[in-house]
Symmetry: C2
Subunit: 504 residues, 2 copies
């Protein structure tokens, strides 16, 4: 596998070889989660559940099928989704009286019930979530875990509050929860406020979390929407306030899908296979006996006893198969097992074991009695290292522009990209940009695209022209980063900084 | 709430009042899982997951949407499901080229992939499962958790084996797993082999688990199917055996749905509300401070300290609201909390607390330091008691027949039932049956229907005539209960015993 050579090929290979998903299901855009991949998914969503449960969110389940009349109530929402909704029109051999939409997202399934649940200020806030399959009839190219027609594990939160300010506060809390979540997956994120023409259909505004994938394109891995009272007005969700007056609730919703797993696999993986943070690794430790003649029984016994000691704390495997140790290393590295323990005659003599960490190229001799302590410490270090490596890598791909002269270069790069330029062309047109990047991270320039940071006056006309000229998308206004500057297009003074990127 | 008066009303009331599901979703047969109900569901399915994970089953996820051509491959299967499948025919504004079925069950989604996964005997057995939403376009009356159009948490296992004998062995293992599962929910079960005309569409035979609901009707709460090589032949699932020959696999599948929760609620609940086994109770212990003047601070402090001590082991709530203790009892009894701890000035004096168990009408004074030990012990006793009470109740409702004279009585009962007889009529026609029942369980005869046990020669003609004449359904041959006897209809000698019942 050659991640830097062709990320796309590497991605497909790793999904197959590590047993994440099977792409051979006979409908475009639908995939099968294999047992190993499903375990990663389970542990990943356990983190999300923990974070939500401990911050006042309650898990629920609302039906998949949304009747047409509810789905069609919110005008903006329909516009945003009408091209990509699947419709159930038949039950058995009958035509249904009312077509039923497969939820693309659940506002229109949940809010008619919110209307029933909410009576007074004492019922607020409401914070519910569900982890469900949702559907988008994607006509563009599909890609496993990234652009599916069935998003099989969409986590969506829906909240209702007394005031717009309370909803804003919830947006901030959600941002913090999502930051914690991605930190635990060691995924660095860019947070921005999407431009108005790219916000969620029906929202007041949308905060988005993106990460940069190995091919330089950004992947949206989380969104948080302040819905204001837009849906409340449509669905008639009111409450009696402290003064006895009827008011509309203010709402937020925020979601994360299996794209979080796509990002985790892509960002940390290497040419040997998966690299997984211990918390989500289906197998956290593998023990490989290093069998030498005359010592077989003794070594296997030692391996068994260490395994039994560790199994109460860790998800652990002992590989007693007949393969050579090298073949075993290869197999378990592919699966992203964070720690490998080797035990041979020499280790037994020293009352030690040899441990290596998946993301490092070194073996360490650890005293038998110190294994748990060592693993504990190195687990933390591994999470720290994975995150920092990924964050460094991400920031090395972000270049700040100050002038339209520089935008011209970006345009050039994009045009080159579009005509599928050879690496040589790519290199030459990148020269002046590359000079901005810390040399130490210029490991590889093939496939290396950049995310650009620049000023924007905030006018939609300038925004769309910037997008048109560069062939890039405005991710949005960078949150908490106001700095005096100028719009890269019209030159007007502006405090708004934006990210510009190729996106998935 | 009056469970014995009208079970159906009681059932709807308890679902609403305890916050299990909301039935007001605007499509027939689709329900919303409320936060409290969802927690019961989560803990219940955790038991199932544990049991499956520890017996070699691997969790997976297969797509919801099944293309028409795959769904239509197995002739028997189509016949069984064609009247109740939902079809997606539109994506966005386009008609789909190929209609997509919403899975009513996943054989036809999974087995094309089994064909790809299985090559040789070394790949066998395969045991996968998924917990997913499935759909049935029910035209009959729907009832929450019992007859849904969206079964939102269907657990389905699919296995493949080398031989028919291996598949039979798996059927036995599955039966044991299901027995353990229902034992932990304290639900007694009847196990029988469905008659051929009632087996799963495409199966060789079906083993079913039923329980008797409080209204005397049986509810199917689990099925286990031996599929033989029927689907393997349709989907071409072959493997190379040890001699290098290509053979068809033999398969089984087995499922459990949220009906298990309907049964648990119905069987254990009483007029005060839910009664939940501690393992699945969202709140296992509630602490109620018994405030007396001058002692308020001291009591609250004690309650807090006991709560903090117990919270690491139990899901616990301390109810500090302003309501009177009586109102609090009422509220938490409704929610089925297994243990209630009251702490008042007298308890503090004695360094004790007062504990009561939800299913018993007594209060016990327990020394503070003994709380954990007491709860531990009483949890086990409670599970034991709930199960035994339910089992005794179930067996008290099963009556054995030996003659066709007695069938006539059953017929009469059924006719009375159909014409919605008053309890008085009901009683009178039941007299000769009642005489067979241990007096101690004749607590209530209103709404009390019976399950009948009788002999059957095994001929379909006799079977259907028994069903026609009695208006009852043959659940199936009772497993592991062979006894010399006669067919209740034709009088031929037979070892087969069957259950006859009104069913959901």
């Amino acid at each position: 596998m050659d991640k830097d050579g062709s990320f796309s090929e590497w991605y497909n290979d790793i999904l197959r070889l590590a047993g994440i998903v099977d792409v051979r299901y006979p409908v475009k855009g639908l995939y099968v989660w294999c047992p190993f991949g499903f375990k990663i998914r389970r542990y990943t969503y356990e983190i999300l559940r923990d974070l939500l449960d401990s911050t006042g969110h309650k898990e629920t389940y609302f039906p998949l099928l949304i009747p047409e009349q509810e789905f069609m109530k919110e005008a903006e929402h329909i516009k945003g989704f009408q091209d990509e909704v699947y419709w159930v029109t038949k039950g058995g051999l009958d035509d249904l009286d009312i077509p039923l939409a497969l939820r693309p997202t659940s506002e229109t399934a949940i809010y008619p019930i919110f209307k029933l649940w909410i009576r007074s200020h004492a019922d607020l806030p409401i914070l519910v979530y569900q982890i469900v399959n949702t559907f988008r009839y994607e006509t563009k190219g599909t890609k496993p875990l990234i652009r599916n027609r069935e998003i099989s594990s969409f986590k969506e939160v829906h909240t209702a509050h007394e005031s717009y300010e309370d909803a804003e506060e919830q947006v901030r809390k959600a941002t913090e929860i999502y930051k914690s979540f991605f930190k635990r997956l060691c995924i660095p994120i860019l947070i921005s406020k999407r431009p108005d023409w790219d916000k969620f259909a029906g929202a007041d505004y949308t905060i988005a979390l993106d990460t940069i994938m190995p091919d330089g394109k950004t992947l949206q891995i989380g969104t948080i929407h302040n819905l204001k009272d837009n849906f409340a007005r449509t669905f008639g969700i009111t409450y009696e306030d402290k003064n006895g007056e009827q008011r509309y609730v203010n709402q937020t919703c925020y979601g994360i899908s299996e794209r979080c797993i796509a990002a985790m696999i892509s960002i940390h993986g290497d040419d040997k296979g998966l690299v997984l943070p211990p918390e989500v690794a289906p197998v956290q430790i593998v023990i490989i006996p290093i069998i030498k003649k005359d010592h077989e029984l003794q070594i296997i016994e030692k391996c068994e006893s260490i395994k039994n000691r560790l199994r109460t704390r860790y998800r652990i495997e002992l590989d007693k198969s007949d393969e050579r140790p090298g073949a075993k290393y290869y197999k378990w590295e592919l699966k992203g097992v964070p720690f490998r323990i080797e035990i041979g005659p020499r280790d037994i003599e020293k009352e030690s074991v040899t441990i290596s960490r998946r993301d490092k190229n070194e073996k360490v001799s650890v005293k038998e009695e110190d294994i748990e302590g060592w693993i504990e410490e190195e687990s933390d270090k591994m999470v720290y290292d994975l995150y920092n490596k990924a964050e460094k890598e991400m920031f090395s791909r972000i270049i700040e522009y100050d002038s339209s002269e520089e935008i011209a270069i970006a345009q050039e790069v994009c045009r080159e990209d579009k005509s599928d330029s050879s690496s040589q062309n790519h290199d030459s047109c990148n020269t002046s940009i590359d000079s901005k990047i810390d040399e130490s991270y210029k490991i590889d320039k093939i496939n290396k695209r950049y995310v650009y940071k620049t000023g924007w006056c905030g006018k939609e006309s300038c925004g769309t022209e910037i997008e048109d000229k560069t062939g890039l998308k405005i991710l949005g206004e960078i949150i908490d980063e106001e700095k005096a500057g100028r719009c890269v297009l019209c030159g007007d003074e502006s405090k708004i900084k934006i990210y510009l990127a190729k996106t998935y």
